[in-house]
Subunit: 142 residues, 2 copies
Amino acid sequence: MKHKNVIALASRITEKAHRLIIRELEAHGIDGIVPSHGDILVNLLNGEKYTMKDLAEKIHRTKPTVTVLIDKLVDFGYVTKIKSNEDSRVTFVELTEKGLGLKPSFMEISEKMNAIVYKDLSDKEAEFIEAVLGKINRNLDE
Amino acid sequence: MKHKNVIALASRITEKAHRLIIRELEAHGIDGIVPSHGDILVNLLNGEKYTMKDLAEKIHRTKPTVTVLIDKLVDFGYVTKIKSNEDSRVTFVELTEKGLGLKPSFMEISEKMNAIVYKDLSDKEAEFIEAVLGKINRNLDE
DNA sequence: CCTTTATTATTAGACATCTAACTATATGGC
DNA sequence: GCCATATAGTTAGATGTCTAATAATAAAGG
């Protein structure tokens, strides 16, 4: 019990993973996209449409943040906003054709990431570490 | 090998830990300080003085970022900047008395954080998870 | 020496993110 | 039916962070 640096490691891993994702996206010709945009797009890749609020919850960001993120994705032509008919406060977000076209790249990047992260980890180790991280994650929900 | 979400967990853990740190700092009456400021201060708590560049490396941030962070810490009166005599390009940063006074709070917060993160983890589990996270962290240094 | 190259730090500009405040709409109680 | 309250989304303002460019100084090579 001498080290006590799970948080520092988690932080460094998160940042390196984010940089890797951005680098890979650029390598696939996808520019100006940060991981949060990616998270949104991944959620939309099943073809469903979601409200701004739904997306905010899914990617663990606030609504104002999602407004900005989505506006950028609209500018890039990856998604469209659709006003709800039933409740005019609500805005749905849906992938465009161009957005749907990102799927192969996203799957490749995801596989590449997993190959790096889980390199030389046995299935047992992978399972164990996810279980423990899950526990720590819950512990932090004060 | 079904989950594959170490990165997502690391990301959530990092963010929750950061929020917890900020909340605890405020509870100790330390306001306007984010984890990066904390990282800098923790590094200075041994009484040594470090250059801007040193600090940037220690906290894994760029030099422009550290310039901004330090300027804020100077405004708050926690640190002072001292021009080097030997090399006039170099600026040293050192804790003030007020900065030194943060030590007890920082230690308390660190202990509280460890208590939460390592709650119901055996020593063996803690050791193992840090070893595996260390491995993943290195794997990401492409 | 003097010029080129390297190094330290800052400034400028961009962006994701947050909280707080605001708008607009819906819902629920009386 | 109206008014209070809740909910969805945006806008405004602040801040940490980055990259690129700049300034100032040091070191190195001819």
